[in-house]
């Protein structure tokens, strides 16, 4: 027996791991667990403070929050009075003040439905989902547009602000996903006609800039249709946005479809399931789950690009804030306006991103190896 192989003495006990909890324990474990890490932590904290402090000073410490007119902007920092004074128009656009309760109802209903669908514990998902897809748009259409049931008509050119942004984003999201799925399936079809129609559709809409699509929808389309047929400008923009994003969505979904082995389809065929059954029950549930990050990525891009409707004369959130900046009473508050617009967009996009991560985690546990 060689001595070098076996120890003859016990090793001394190691120090017990640091059990301190709370702030000091956390700091020690995560920021100061060694000389180099301590130096890096201090440097990073210093850098952040150096960059963030002036912004915080401007946005919070030296800012004015209360008041209603320009005279209330006394501090040296931001004057959020500009936002609060114009808050109503930022939310409702030019929607007549007396009718804004209609928008409130639609907002509340949408928030309730989205919450119901998003919280896994609540029952009757299928029924609520069906209502969200079919019932809600009809109700929203009648309420927002009016002209029936004694409600005065509010034409879409009076819509604006956050309400318009949400309308465009919601219609875009709800429309582009199913259309994208159909296009993706069509592109993989063995039928040459279906396949070429889908390929041409996808490649056309993916190949043109969204601005061009919106211009064509608002300026060129009326030139081609007979004069007495009038399409609503918003409706044209909505269709353009839906087609444009459905092409992107189709490619995202197709990526997911490619990832599902052909054995899954064959197993479905061998059991006698038809094409739509195989797609709906076996292939798509797996494929869509795989591409949730890509789908949500597209949703987020779509949400932000709704601000492009500005160029065809629709006043979304960003456009209405810009319009407010030209108000002679409020000249020189553009920083506040843009920061606020950025914050609103960021809140919506970040929520979508977080929710998608939550969904991914939740679906994954169901059949993790």
């Amino acid at each position: 027996m060689r001595e070098s192989t076996f120890r003859t003495q016990m090793i001394e006990a190691r120090e017990a791991p640091d059990q301190r909890r709370g702030l000091s324990g956390w700091l020690r474990a995560n920021l100061f667990n060694g000389p180099l890490n301590s130096v890096v932590s201090v440097a990073v904290i210093g850098l952040l403070a150096w960059i963030l402090w002036p912004f915080l000073k401007w946005a919070v410490v030296d800012a004015n929050f209360l008041g209603s007119t320009r005279e209330d902007c006394t501090g040296s920092g931001a004057c959020w009075v500009f936002i609060s004074a114009r808050f109503e128009s930022i939310i409702y656009g030019f929607y007549p003040a007396a009718e804004r309760w209609r928008v409130d109802i639609v907002f509340a209903l949408m928030a309730a439905l989205v919450a119901w669908l998003a919280i896994p514990r609540l029952p009757r998902k299928r029924l609520v989902g069906l209502f969200t897809l079919v019932g809600f748009p009809i109700i929203a259409w009648f309420l927002l547009l009016g002209g029936h049931f004694g409600l005065p008509e509010v034409p879409t050119r009076a819509w604006g602000g956050l309400m318009l942004t949400l309308t465009v984003a919601t219609v875009g999201i709800v429309g582009s996903l199913p259309l994208g799925v159909i296009l993706a399936l069509g592109r993989r079809s063995k039928m040459p006609f279906v396949k070429s129609v889908c390929v041409i559709f996808i490649e056309f809409w993916r190949g043109v800039p969204l601005i061009t699509v919106l211009f064509m929808a608002s300026v060129m389309l009326p030139l081609f249709v007979p004069g007495n047929v009038e399409f609503d400008k918003l409706l044209r923009a909505l269709i353009g946005i839906m087609f444009f994003w459905s092409a992107y969505m189709a490619e995202v979904v197709r990526g997911g479809l490619q990832a599902i082995g052909k054995g899954q389809n064959e197993a479905g065929q061998a059991l006698g399931l038809g094409y739509w059954q195989r797609m709906g029950l076996i292939i798509l549930p797996q494929a869509l789950k795989l591409v949730i990050p890509g789908i949500v990525n597209t949703f987020i891009a779509l949400f932000k690009d709704t601000s492009l409707v500005l160029i065809i004369g629709l006043f979304d959130l960003l456009a209405i804030i810009r319009a407010g900046l030209t108000d002679s009473n409020w000249l020189g508050f553009s920083t506040e306006g843009y920061v606020f617009a950025a914050l609103v967009f960021w809140i919506f996009c970040f929520s979508m991103s977080r929710y998608s991560q939550y969904i991914e985690r939740r679906l994954n546990t169901s059949y993790r190896r």
Binding site: G261, G263, A267, Q269, A270, G274, Q277, I282, Y367
Partner: protein, 257 residues
């Protein structure tokens, strides 16, 4: 269609599967050459041969997972054609078990077994679940019904796949190398299930290299090479007195060590 249904009436002694002068090409590659095969009701057939000999392709033609270019296939009296309705009618009579199981990973074991019963046979869920549990019991895996396929071993997954196919009460079962992807100690549990099924009188076509299984249950062993059926004989004759030289060589290679 009515002619086909009339022909499908059970109890007649028409062949279960009749393949006549079947030819298939992948591009210019001739995978199946003039295959003739008749399988009677209740017959158990083992198909073996070197890889690339067309054995999997042949059984996959029987439920039209592969399309053939020439010749005819008749399953349970229903002649195959390109009509998807007709193909689905045939598939309802034919169960299939794959080398890589092909269970649906997003569904539990029980849901895997119920899916086609509910959507193809239009059974109520409760009834489908009951019959799924019966078959899971028979392959001795009922206690795993609530699990997902990813949580099971290969052998367990393959038994679930067999139960899933049996739930449709097929008249024929096709096995495409059912044990080739399994660890050695799991092969037996799958073969046991297949042997039991054979003893119950199920018509079976089985592509496998398990020669022990062939000796135990096969009525006929078929040897294929280069897209042709080279030899077909009862197992005793096949293993003891193979006629063709190619078969002798194959057998010496797989039994020789």
């Amino acid at each position: 269609m009515s002619e086909a249904q009339a022909a499908a009436a059970p109890g007649d002694d028409k062949p279960m599967i009749q393949i006549e002068r079947l030819n298939k090409w992948y591009g210019s590659f001739h995978v199946l050459r003039d295959i003739d095969l008749t399988v009677t009701r209740g017959e158990r057939i083992v198909i073996c041969g070197p890889s690339g000999s067309g054995k999997s392709t042949m059984i996959r033609c029987i439920n039209h997972l592969e399309e053939h270019q020439q010749g005819s296939i008749t399953v349970n009296g229903i002649p195959m054609n390109h009509d998807i309705k007709r193909i689905e009618q045939i598939r309802r009579n034919v169960g299939m078990v794959f080398q890589h199981f092909n269970l649906f990973p997003h569904l539990t074991v029980l849901e895997n077994c119920c899916l086609a019963q509910i959507w193809v046979q239009k059974k109520p869920r409760a009834e489908a679940e009951q019959s799924a549990m019966e078959y899971l019991e028979r392959v001795q895996i009922a206690n795993q019904a609530k699990k997902y396929p990813g949580q099971l071993s290969g052998g367990q997954q393959q038994r679930v796949a067999i139960a899933r196919a049996l739930c449709m009460r097929p008249e024929v079962m096709l096995f495409d190398e059912p044990t080739s992807a399994l660890d050695p100690e799991m092969i037996k549990e799958v073969l046991d299930v297949m042997i039991e099924l054979a003893h119950e009188g199920m018509t079976m076509l089985c592509v496998t290299h398990e020669m022990g299984f062939a000796k135990t249950v096969a009525d006929r062993v078929i040897f294929m090479d280069q897209g042709q059926i080279i030899e077909e004989a009862p197992p005793e004759t096949f293993f003891n007195n193979p006629r063709s030289e190619r078969t002798q060589l194959f057998l010496s290679q797989i039994l020789g060590h």
